[in-house]
């Protein structure tokens, strides 16, 4: 058997096959890693840059961030509340762009928009926005500069080392706080 395998290996085709198999597994893993780090397709290609550029505050649409764990995603009531008032669309001077037509379709059908959360931590990590906002962090510290991106994407790998780096750096002079912020039970339960 070993002989067969060895002779098979000495065959260039066999070697290529082995290489392909290896590459397949490797690229599969790489692709898997990549998919966890890329923005998933959203039902509506929401242009963050446009809205931030117009001066809309993050907390206007994600109001949960300063009072609870989840920042929350806006309901279509909130979207449409502004967009239906835009006079250029209302009086028909400008045709409704494709993405806004999707929004209108949702509103007309009274169906919720199934936004896909982007910056998500695994189930076993319990992240709370409120203390982070309370500690004076800005949204872009973690979510990047939204005025530069359209559809939200993750600017960084949100892994434990990344969390800890900040938790450590901000508690060098406060051992009690450090205890709290490095405690396993603060995030994992």
């Amino acid at each position: 058997m070993v002989k067969r395998f060895m002779s098979w290996l000495s065959d260039p085709l066999g070697r290529i096959g082995l290489l392909i198999a290896f590459l397949a597994v490797f690229s599969g893993a790489a692709f898997g890693l990549y998919t966890t780090q890329t923005a998933p397709p959203q039902p509506i290609q929401f242009p963050h840059n446009l809205h931030v550029g117009l001066g809309v505050q993050c907390l206007y649409c994600h109001p949960g961030a300063y009072r609870q764990a989840s920042a929350g995603l806006p309901t279509e009531t909130k979207c449409w509340g502004c967009h239906q008032q835009l006079s250029k669309y209302a009086d028909g001077t400008v045709a409704l762009p494709a993405e806004l037509q999707k929004l209108k379709a949702y509103v007309d059908a009274n169906k919720p928009i199934q936004w896909v959360p982007v910056a998500q931590v695994p189930d076993f990590v319990h992240f709370n926005h409120r203390p982070h906002i309370a500690a004076g962090l800005n949204c872009e510290n973690c979510h990047g500069d939204m005025s530069k991106v359209t559809v939200a994407e993750n600017p960084q790998v949100m892994n434990m080392g990344w969390c800890l780096e900040c938790h450590r750096a901000r508690t060098v002079d406060n051992p009690e706080k450090r205890n709290k912020l490095l405690d396993c039970g603060t995030c994992h339960y």
């Binding site: 189930d123 076993f124 409120r130 309370a134 994992h188």
Partner: protein
């Protein structure tokens, strides 16, 4: 009969030991009626799976809290020993912690609790072997929860999968929620402001939960009483749960 094997009772004065943690629980065995409301409440709050008939009969049930009882004497003079709810004692000196090779069960320095970090657990089950109270339960399988039962799962608590050890957390998610709430309002947590799921459900109020390091809290007062004792105190595990002797 195995009356000799009854769990020993040692009286202890918690305040004197000077080893109290932060959170504590007092369980009054005199008024515990064994009704199992705590068991159900715990299971519902903490996403504890049910395991089915065969596995539960084989010692694989996942109860984070169980009610123990033994018998004393023979009919007609037979007595049932007081119901004793057994849950993780949140030991100050926990035998389970140092034996985990992966740091999956560790001591919280800020909450003074035993933590089980599910995602860090590789399933050696050493901690469960070393737990003198036998209150750890292991996910022997991915226990089935047919749809739509998962709708009930508490999003504040990780859903454990096969191969992971789990145990009572003193409802740490509630502790965090209350702490966060109190902090956002710039105050301390008041005694009795929140409680664990088992204490919350207990119809007899036999379970009292609170700050054990606050001498004025309800749980401290109960724990200091003359009826208080700790389970297997001779092992020096410094449990955070004080039992109150019946009668």
């Amino acid at each position: 009969m195995t009356t000799e094997l009854k769990i020993p009772e040692f009286s202890a004065n918690f305040a004197e030991s000077g080893q109290q943690g932060k959170w504590g629980m007092a369980i009054d065995m005199d008024i515990c009626t064994g009704c199992q409301a705590c068991v159900a409440a715990c299971a519902m709050e903490n996403n504890v799976p049910f395991v089915g008939e065969a596995d539960s009969g084989y010692g694989r049930s996942m109860h984070w809290i169980r009610t123990e009882r033994f018998w004393e004497g023979e009919f007609p003079e037979i007595k049932m020993t007081p119901y004793q709810p057994m849950l993780c004692q949140q030991c100050g000196h926990a035998p389970c912690e140092p034996v985990c090779p992966a740091f999956a069960t560790v001591h919280s320095q800020s909450e003074a609790l035993n933590l089980q970090v599910y995602n860090r657990c590789v399933g050696t089950r050493y901690c469960a072997n070393n737990c003198p109270y036998q209150v750890r339960s292991f996910n022997w399988r991915d226990f089935e929860r047919p749809e739509p039962l998962p709708n009930q799962l508490n999003p504040d608590v990780t859903v454990r999968r096969r191969g992971v050890m789990e145990k009572c957390t003193f409802c740490i998610q509630r502790i965090h929620r209350a702490e966060d709430q109190a902090k956002s309002e710039g105050r301390e947590i008041a005694d009795g402001e929140f409680t664990t799921a088992c204490a919350q459900a207990c119809p007899a109020d036999a379970i009292v939960f609170g700050r054990i390091d606050d001498p004025e809290s309800a749980v401290s007062k109960l724990a200091r009483g003359s009826r208080g004792f700790h389970m297997l105190e001779e092992l020096g595990t410094l449990p955070s749960v004080t039992y109150l002797k019946a009668g």
